[in-house]
Symmetry: C2
Subunit: 331 residues, 2 copies
């Protein structure tokens, strides 16, 4: 069972994943590369993953061929689903058992390496699965937060190339989420408005950082983006929780996400990237001060001593230039 | 002139480095590799760096041969030394000019790639330069914080292999520093003691995470370390500011730092790593609640979507195991 330990200085939690099979000597070698051989995510290899949690299917039964999207537990989970938290102290330190969920959303049965290989309709289905998994897991009262994210490319942390996303559910609200919520709460307390709603208005009015301006969603390069070509997708309608997005608002989200990723892949020649859905914690609903959104971060620059020591980031591409470049991509 | 922009959600500052010569197309290619050819840091190439700020010399004058340690401005500075801050708003956003300092400490005139190639006496001299540069720059009232750090290896953000450190001075206290200070302040307000002093006591008493226990310094793997083999060096004597360490306490620091790095290099076969000196801001002195220290983070794991989205880290090597491994290194 992994252990959750809290850094007493910053309050940040760390997962000490003792059961992932790592020995000190495993770290002598170079970073893992993505296996080009056998793929456990391909159709026909359903028995090479843990038993499926959910699937959208054309035909067939559980753990057989015939699916379009498939959700399975991560074979090497960061957190484990069984048991209680057993919160305790060790002198000045705090620790609990590493209880949570770690699921993989396999986005297609074919061996493709980019989400953009799928149609907007298929991506919409993936987003529906995201939402359903969050709604299912938030019923478990041990759990506080669910993070949906995607790692593409070895540099961005992917270990398999077959296109997939992940969901990690944690028993505490992560520090990054807490800080984002606090920032928005402070703005709301002072001004009585949602910070992200204000940001949307200003971005649309300014225009220079906008990449895609849809009916329901806007994609733009954030004013203080940490990474070159960092781009956020914000829903125009205020809503704090991603899992509450009605189905009628998923088709355009799928289109905008696909369009943005096509532009990034074209402009940067298939860069490594992460995307992350920022949503309110499970215990919150319909918050006036928080606004869910999706952040895409291409991984083109290194995080070095300065960034680790300060939280400052050095972004060598002004967001206005990145947005202009992405707007002008010929697809 | 680079621009400092503040993220309105988190309060994090970003340096938009428009003058580093990056165009969007520069990011299509793979990460930069360390040049194996001409080295501007080697003795005899003094005219290939900006004019030196300081040096310890055997002989010779400014910008000539004969030095042992040499400090020069970074040729591609993240922040620039000239001018005022010109703080202003842009709608909901905050921005100021990218004023600060960015210096390189070239640790030796020979082309060696590891700090551990130098004797403890030479490393002590480097530490003295660190301290002198901080003391010099804190006289400039525009500046709020100075970060000393080292990037080793391409993965850790180094772009030149000749062993060197960097000093970046910022006009605002970085968010990471602020949070660390706040955490320590909260502990002190509640308990009336320094958190790091308590940590030291517990670590020495427990022993399982200690790597080196010296007279004046302890090196240990932190209880909630984010990275495999992360190790901190703490001075046993409480002091908030690194630049106030008396010269009599630098020799052992140099020895412990060298010993620790030798152990890491041996155990992990010359891993990429960063080290960072955590010290109180320029405006603070002799704080009861903060304790300067040095953090070494080997860069063996990837930072992926989960880490960016939550601030959680997954550490596959328990700190106790890492410390045991490092203690037992045969040198």
């Amino acid at each position: 069972m992994p252990e959750l330990r809290k850094d007493p200085v910053t309050g940040r939690w760390v997962i000490i994943a003792t059961e992932r099979g790592a020995r000190p000597s495993d770290f002598k070698s170079a970073p893992q590369v993505i296996s080009r051989g056998f793929c456990p995510f391909c159709e026909g290899n359903e028995d090479k993953t843990p038993p499926e949690i959910a699937a959208y299917r054309e035909h067939g039964g559980r753990d057989t061929k015939g699916w379009r999207v498939r959700v399975v537990p991560n074979k090497f989970p960061a957190l484990q689903i069984e048991g209680g938290l057993d919160k305790r102290g060790e002198g000045i330190y705090d620790v609990m058992r590493g209880v949570g969920a770690h699921e993989v959303i396999i986005e297609t049965p074919e061996h493709v390496t980019t989400l953009t290989s799928l149609s907007a309709e298929r991506i919409e289905e993936m987003l529906r699965v995201y939402s359903e998994r969050l709604n299912d897991l938030k019923n478990d009262k041990r759990f506080a937060y669910g993070l949906l994210f995607k790692n593409v490319g070895s540099i961005a942390g992917a270990s398999l190339e077959h296109t997939h996303s992940q969901l990690i559910v944690t028993p505490v609200v992560p520090i990054t989420v807490n800080r984002e919520m606090q920032g928005c709460r402070g703005f709301f307390d002072y001004r009585g408005r949602c910070l992200f709603c204000d940001m949307l208005k200003q971005e649309i009015a300014t225009g220079s950082r906008v990449v895609i301006d849809g009916d329901q969603y806007v994609a733009f390069a954030p004013f203080a983006g940490r990474f070159p070509f960092e781009t956020w997708i914000l829903p125009k309608r205020h809503r704090s929780n991603f899992e509450d997005v009605p189905r009628s608002e998923l088709p355009e989200l799928a289109e905008v996400l696909r369009d943005l990723l096509v532009r990034l892949e074209s402009a940067l020649e298939n860069p490594p990237y992460n995307y992350i859905i920022h949503s309110a914690p499970f215990a919150s609903n319909d918050l006036e001060y928080y606004h869910w959104h999706l952040e895409v971060i291409p991984r083109l620059t290194k995080v070095a001593g300065f960034e680790w020591g300060t939280g400052f980031y050095i972004n060598p591409v002004p967001p206005e230039k990145a947005a202009e470049f992405l707007r002008n991509v010929e697809k």
